[in-house]
Symmetry: C3
Subunit: 275 residues, 3 copies
């Protein structure tokens, strides 16, 4: 492929219209994740508490927008103002939870469908991260921490609202906090946010903007596919281990352990000698 | 009663001034509900933690305004800006919790007083739902979901803040989430919100606005009285059961159970035959 | 000291620049408190979850601003917009948690260092309370409750976010709610807020503003030092006991107990007589 046509594709991807197809894919996967989070009691629970499943699905679908709006002092409910989008999400919720003989659920779980929806969701995710960084950058042009935070939250909002989503279903799991064990999506959103911030606010990245954007889309899609098909769940782990060893005590802790051990040995020897 | 005088009454009800009598009734019932939620340990708890009981009573009294403000990006504390209203709520809290020999509590619990206060509270509720729908409609003229949500939350805010109100008293009950088992007040507020939205935004309801408003007041008061006096707690249950059976799996689940059962029988027969 | 030079000092204190020295002291103590809240597992936890410790430290450092912004409908993330301040807080977090051989932690725990930092933190606290009251007073000129609330929350924000800070570390302690057992800092911030409100909004306090401010600084520093050096943790307790006895049931409860006791005795006597 010659570089120009590649740039053309990148420009196309940047301008991609999200509604309604990408919203359908996103909502479908969100409803699926809610149903799967309910575990084996999902069927019974959904029959008893339709309001609760609807609300938690809506919370998952619009999580990114709601959380970032809450943190930026904008109306938390604003993401619901687009009625067609809410209707699409509601239809997806209904299809996954209440179609006769669980047809909708089985359809959404069917691997080819799931792969296509996942790829679309990742493309959507890139757009959300980008929009989040741009929006925060307009509000606080020099607050890099805020831009990165908003980008990350837009990218994986559902991860951070998981506690509240479960609370809406009467279930409270404080140890499932995203910050304790960030998932791959959070880390990827963080990296993507940092790249977008560098792209917007510094001269470090000289590539055209649409190429940076396209690169992030490919990165997200690639790792999603490798997670779905090959079972590679977190390519960041080796880097994390390295950083933890270098900066967060790893090496120094080992060093101090060795020193303590040697000291203890020497003391033991001296004790022997004096005896 | 001739129709005109009826319309006159309706117009009077629409213009009814709420402060201070309706606020007193509302605050009194809120303080009562906090004390009753504390159960048998209420007396001891209130002596040990006056700040905690005051804060949770304030949260219950101003719940609707606080929750909706929080969701609409407006100051959560704004409902407290009306100092006379806060003083009224504080007096009610003091009367219910700390009058000598529990006179205040016994007075508020006295049935005729409670009935009058409850009726006034329902009239207030109708006004709050109406104001909530109008306010949300001004902010988002086409977002019906937001209007209905805000109306419902204004109508029964205390139901949704129950978890946080209990948390303020050091008690955490995640399974008491309102969404799991919506109370009658939530459902009635929801219905009232939908009617107000239809009245404002469509031509489906041709009756004059004040009549619609008055109708909702009568509906709320009627069911409150039948709950207090006759013990009918939730007239929505039959409709819910019908809807659940039709749309949320009821019939289809039974159908699939029958089919599975028949299949199992036939298989058993075939197994017998082959044997 | 002659009164004029005293007023001069007071004026100096009012104008004191906070960044960076006071921010360093504040952040250092905040990181210390997070580490100590983790208890004996702090070392292991900090190695496993650096993101979690960083976020909870940031939440503690910027607690006052975040909570009050949240309650006043302003962006919760806004306190992070000052990048140098975030960098200072991050450095303090790193020093306390991850310096080799725990040097940073031991340094911050060293009594003279801790005393100096604590004194600086109290001066900072006075400024925060003052700014909070002034800010709320601009938004709601007649809402005294809001001014006092915001002042108190600015003064001891970390106390009120403790639950969420622990939640970020996967730990949930609903009974540690600040409202149940307000700490000395909360009470002192409350008193300081009330004095500032009286100073701004009434003519009760005729002293010049800078003297009032300086008086509160001295009050906060004095009790901090007496807590650190003499172990006097809460000088408010006697006043509280008095108020509780007078207004929150103390005396009346005893009275009703005595009456009940006497009644029971008399009834017992009568029973004896009739027998």
């Amino acid at each position: 492929m010659d570089p120009e046509s590649f740039l053309d594709i990148a420009n196309q991807v940047v301008k991609l219209k999200m509604f309604p197809y990408f919203d359908v894919a996103h909502s479908l996967l969100c409803a699926l994740s809610v149903k799967e989070d309910l575990g084996s009691g999902a069927h019974q629970f959904s029959r008893k508490h339709p309001l609760s499943t609807w609300l938690s699905t809506m919370l998952v679908v619009f999580a990114g927008g709601m959380v970032t709006n809450g943190l930026l002092g904008e109306p938390i409910l604003a993401p619901l103002k687009d009625t067609p989008q809410v209707i699409v999400a509601t239809l997806c919720w209904y299809i996954v939870f209440y179609t006769p003989f669980d047809i909708g659920y089985k359809f959404a779980k069917f691997l080819p469908i799931k792969i296509i929806a996942s790829v679309m969701k990742e493309i959507y995710r890139a757009k959300k991260i980008h929009d989040g960084v741009v929006h925060a950058g307009k509000l606080y042009p020099t607050a890099y921490i805020i831009m990165i935070t908003i980008g990350t939250l837009k990218g994986n909002g559902a991860g951070f609202t998981k506690l509240f989503e479960r609370l809406m279903r009467g279930c409270w799991t404080p140890s499932a906090m995203e910050f304790l064990q960030p998932t791959f999506y959070t880390k990827a959103s963080l990296v993507a946010s940092i790249i977008f911030v560098l792209d917007k606010k510094s001269d470090l990245i000289s590539a055209p903007h649409s190429l940076v954007y396209f690169g992030i889309v490919i990165f997200l899609v690639y790792f999603k596919l490798s997670s779905l098909l090959l079972g590679i769940h977190d390519p960041f782990v080796p880097f994390e281990n390295l950083i933890c060893a270098l900066f967060f005590g790893g090496i120094w802790d080992s060093l101090s352990k060795i020193i303590n051990h040697n000291q203890a040995k020497e003391e033991a020897k001296e004790v022997k000698k004096t005896n």
